[in-house]
Symmetry: C2
Subunit: 552 residues, 2 copies
Amino acid sequence: MDKNKTSVSQYLLYRLQEFGSKHMFGVCGDFLLGFINQIYKSPVTMINCCNELNAGYAADGYARINGLGAVTTTFTVGELSAINAIAGSYAEQVPVVMIAGSPELRHARANKMLHHTLGDYSIAREMFRKITVACERLDDPLHAPQQIDMALSRCLYYKKPIYFELPADMVTAKCAKPGKFLSIVKTSNPDALAEALSESLHLLKQAKKPIIILGMEIIRHGLQDIVKKFIEKSGFPYCTFVTGKTTLSEDHPQFIGCYKGGWSREYVAEVVDSSDCILLLGGFFIDSDTGGFTAHLEKSKLIQANFEQTNIKNHTYSEIMLSDYIKGLTKAVSAGKLPSGLIPAKTALKDQSKVKVTSGKKLTVKHFFKRVASFLNEEDIVIAEVGDCLYSMAGTLLPKNTTFISQSFYNSIGYTVGAALGTSFSKKRRTILFVGDGSFQLTAQEISTMLRYDLKPIIFLLNNQGYAIERAIHDGPYNDLQPWRYHLIPQALGGEAGINVHTEGELESALKVAENAKKLTFIEINVDKYDFGDTLRLAGSAMAESSKNSYD
Amino acid sequence: MDKNKTSVSQYLLYRLQEFGSKHMFGVCGDFLLGFINQIYKSPVTMINCCNELNAGYAADGYARINGLGAVTTTFTVGELSAINAIAGSYAEQVPVVMIAGSPELRHARANKMLHHTLGDYSIAREMFRKITVACERLDDPLHAPQQIDMALSRCLYYKKPIYFELPADMVTAKCAKPGKFLSIVKTSNPDALAEALSESLHLLKQAKKPIIILGMEIIRHGLQDIVKKFIEKSGFPYCTFVTGKTTLSEDHPQFIGCYKGGWSREYVAEVVDSSDCILLLGGFFIDSDTGGFTAHLEKSKLIQANFEQTNIKNHTYSEIMLSDYIKGLTKAVSAGKLPSGLIPAKTALKDQSKVKVTSGKKLTVKHFFKRVASFLNEEDIVIAEVGDCLYSMAGTLLPKNTTFISQSFYNSIGYTVGAALGTSFSKKRRTILFVGDGSFQLTAQEISTMLRYDLKPIIFLLNNQGYAIERAIHDGPYNDLQPWRYHLIPQALGGEAGINVHTEGELESALKVAENAKKLTFIEINVDKYDFGDTLRLAGSAMAESSKNSYD
């Protein structure tokens, strides 16, 4: 083989691991065998999942920790099973590379009625085009390197998924070796930037009670350090949206908590509502970030700086990069101190670790989440499924350097089981998963893959006997579930049975086991059917109100 | 309420049950709660599934037995998880109605960043448009009845899926009550029909060894009786493609077996290959129907009659309806008798019921499928998953009036677990499912829904420790699976443990239990890792050959 050449598949795999994706999640399939074979010969480790949706979720969770994730499936039947995961990555801004192995080009050219196809070979690809920032068919080895690099540069710049179709006969086709990778670099319009900074600084200077809110883009675009410098120089208090939770360590003295509009802790709502200048960095007006649109973030006092544009009150500055904007603010803002009397979250919530345990007492949702708060360690990856797990954890103060993961915008239930598989490859950090019974039933089999690769997440399965969040909106028999013996699932999947917990005392024993475990720990937490956390109850009523027209 | 009015949701539900869909499969979700609430007030029974893909598969299986199936999910996150099932129904020509509950129209009009959405509210709908024959958003109660009827008439005519988006505030919006339903009726062009019939009859008359092959369209369009009359009057021998298996009862004296090109039983291949006039009714040149394109169906001796057109040799007659064509042939063909010496399948395969059992002997794939053939009863619904289950069952002669179901064209593994859920609602017929371990891992949780609704399928889980079909193509560690304790799955899902079978004797006991069971029976069949049925071995080599360019 020409030493200046490589193959299309090895080129792609080289680039993936170069940018952080050292594992590939996927499900084997016949048009894909050649590519999977090549993965085993590459620096990328193949992780064989139970199904494609879960593999997609795993790639998403992996990308949130490692900067890039990848998933591979066979044509149509495989990729369409994963498409919801990729749509989730698109909505939540997660850089995931989807690779579908397709039939040899000669079949596609003849439009042969081959299994796994729909006659028209472009259908699945054109679906993916709608939820990716690049969608390429690698059907020419001469151009494949350029296609791969261009697509990947968009993935890394926009932090959104891309799609490759890899025909079986292109897997080993020869192409140029990887050269210098050209990243996308956009610069701010200097005049627009200067004007926006000047106006912003004027407003912030005038303000008596400025507050910063951090949204999802700060984490996604890796701007945590830049934001931290600005916060610390300015002395302004800050809070986060749910999507921005753990942007910075939550013990930060300027952090007052998680802001969720009308669903916030009273003090946080008070500080934000009484502010005369709100600086929203990297955030959007998503219902789940604004307490179902109950947030009163009036435009007259709002500066909203996003990835490529800044809005002040009712006008927009485009061509402003968020990093330039924050750096500019940091440079020009007067050094300030935290206002006296302000209560940081770490002070307000310091009693969350004080939990009284009564051995035989039946567990409640409140006790569980309060108790588990002090079980968490620094550096943990904490994953919370949509529902009471998310609502309860969003209000919990997390230890230093934890990473909080939840699909709190897209809300595809079952996501976290796959995501926890993806994050569990972080060797030095524990993955702690909180998942409800209803969500777990969608994707439960992926516990199998954790067992297969000897991963060691700690899984808390909150069994409240149904879709609690739906019950809180509108209850009916459709919110009931078949009562699984959840703790027996790991055993049926080839591991050992989990721990079944009903009382406060049993929880203490289970936490001890988890703390010392050298393998996956699965703990079923049994609570009452109508035992909701406070935020879930609030959210449910609000959602019921907003959809009341659909009942009679 | 105006007694001449109903609601959009009740209109839709009325039409669904009118055409056979008395059950609705789906997963609860917040934009869908209003609609699900209405289902509970309607003649349609809601079946709450574990996840949306499985619900889609269930609707497909249900439709194959009942003439129409329906599945409902919430917006985007739910529907995209089901899209692969709907694509499967599109490929395999199964009439399934997909209903996605979407946010209230006021949110859509404002393009609000609501959870479950992608900002652009049309993305999922436009994906479904590619794999449905009608795709409607029910956003106006005045037009909804017409939209529903037009879409449903296309679904029932083409036997392909349709899609409805139902905004939450349209669920109870008032509309006209259902009136007379206008089905699509197309008539043949009489001149084209006469010409095609005349040419066909001439060829059939000249032929010394005519043979009929039945493809998937006969079952799909309910033409079994019409075809039976033609076959019996003509006296021609016939075989079926895999997609046409059990079009007529397999004990028919003119039935010689399943034709699969080069993978056929020797005698069947011989009869077809030596024929001088092949009449293919309702069939397509699908790889899985033609033994991976190894069938020698030369155009010079081929008449291919499909749903709306007939091809003779190299020319095409359009505007000919298959039913008119077959009826025309029946009327004009001379009454004939089965050629002497021809060996019907029921004679050739009569020894399949003679199985010698050696109690302690380790089970093999061959013994299992041979033994199980005589376990099957008349009227059974036999479902075989892609892989060795499909290959082995395709060659098994099934009892009178059995229905054979497999996704043998689209080949989405895991399909059958959902499909068996759907068919199990047939109260008078047993559902017998044959599924491999690899496929089962994708959709295993739907056993839960069978338990929840007290359904009684008999499930044979063929545990050959991996993706046998992929092993037969190209083996590697990616064909291994996490070793589940499959028989413990029903127990973990809230039922009782299944039966674990390793020997011929244990199989006998298990079959006895199954025969007398009043509830779901789950039997794990353990065989060796490289123990393949003959057809699987053949198919694997052929597929390996056709994709050899992807390995190095």
